[in-house]
Amino acid sequence: MPMAASDIEAMIKAALPDAQVEITDLAGDGDHYSARVVSESFRGLTRINQQRKVYDALGGRMGGVLHALQLSTGVPD
């Protein structure tokens, strides 16, 4: 069962309250998304560890329910 964009955003914000989350439905099918997550808590982390934080926020859904989430991360300017 795919996830709604609003659920993905809510899970990320629950774990990273300061995060700005921008989700795009890539295929219009509710299954292929891209997410841009910007958070101060990423500062100083490698790209891998920034993405790990988002994966952790999604509680094991990455690679499973969310097999088609394209992710980019960054820190605020």
Partner: protein, 109 residues
Amino acid sequence: MSDDVQARIATAVNSADVLLFMKGTPLFPQCGFSSRAIAILEHLGVEYATIDVLQDPGIRQGIKEFSDWPTIPQLYVKGEFVGGSDIMMEMYEAGELAELLEEKGVPHA
């Protein structure tokens, strides 16, 4: 997960300078992320090996535990886990993937 699978993965990541665990083959990638990862490696002009996880359910599950990373594709350079296709793309665009290859002494275009 059997130790055997973990040992096979460890051998594989140490046997090629650049190794991509992917879905499908370079000529016929079976998902968009794997396809993108191959495109990046081709642009870098680097020699690479691939393992098709769709051919082996043990590896498909085992690699996620090996790297503690839940998605495929996964790129390894000189035995070190680099990331998935999103990280590859960000690093490629920033010139960091080429830098990494240089640091590790891996020839590329």
